[in-house]
């Protein structure tokens, strides 16, 4: 079993209202060094398959459903699932 962690962020060209609100909140709390915050999400998959097929399959999943490329970018990491 393999664990894939997908990080989804809004594209750079897209204004992120949550990020803006969070930036302002941090600055109000005194963290003036913060110039910008972008809020994204993480999607974790556990799946079967060889390393070569997983990469292609995960890209397919991202294109088919997990990502809307108009507004979002993504990258992912492939790792082993620790056996319990």
């Amino acid at each position: 079993m393999t664990k894939v962690t997908i990080y989804v962020t809004l594209r750079e060209s897209v204004v992120d209202p949550q990020g803006i609100a969070t930036t302002e909140a941090l600055q109000k709390m005194g963290y003036e060094e913060v110039k910008s915050v972008r809020v994204g999400k993480m999607i974790e998959l556990q799946l079967d398959g060889s390393e070569q097929t997983i990469e292609a399959r995960v890209n397919e999943m991202c294109n088919d459903l997990l990502i809307n490329k108009v507004i979002e970018d993504y990258r992912f990491e492939i790792g082993e699932v620790a056996s319990k």
């Binding site: 809004l10 060209s13 897209v14 204004v15 992120d16 209202p17 949550q18 609100a21 088919d64 459903l65 997990l66 809307n68 108009v70 507004i71 979002e72």
Partner: protein, 227 residues
Amino acid sequence: MKFAVLVFPGLTCDLDMYHAIEETVKQDVEYVWHTEADRLDQFDAVLLPTGTSYGNYLRPGALAKSSPACKHLQTFAESGKLVLGVGNGFHILVEAGMLPGGFLRNQSLKFRSARETVRVENNNTAFTNDYTQGQMLTLPVANEFGNYYADEQTVKKLKNNNQIVFTYADGNIDGSTEAIAGITNERGNVLGMMPLPERAVEAIIGGTDGTALFQSIMNNRGEQHVN
């Protein structure tokens, strides 16, 4: 003319849409549950109501793609018949790739339930021919993800093809690109809009500016409308 109200799990305003057809154009209208969408070809127009399909998980409208209904809806639209998606129905059309763009959280970060002034930017469509060009409408909105986004290239295309049908005329509170409130596909037979015309068909519920949209569909019976 036969109308279908296509219902995905989590859509809640199917009744409003059904009622709007009964109230305005008094045609045959039927609910079609998403698992029965293989019979859409029996209908002349499909209406996608608003609500929160699949809990809006992942992205608003996105998980509807896991239903085979989306494929049937695409086939239906490719045949040239009319598809109207409002609110979350618009989200589904975008996520299904039937309309360009994407949706972001409202600039205000709030769920907004209000009335908006909406301008008719193109009255030469199958959905707006009963309005006049530039007409100002008062229509309700109720959404958290009303912030339509399209990149520069897409906006250019939308403008060149006259696909922008409605814009917000009095401020653009949700933050939509170019104040866009509604667009059609290139062919002009699929309309997505955030304002809710089905909630504006009776004076008793606060207005009738949505009536002409349903009337427009009737005016087009049997015609192909290409922008």
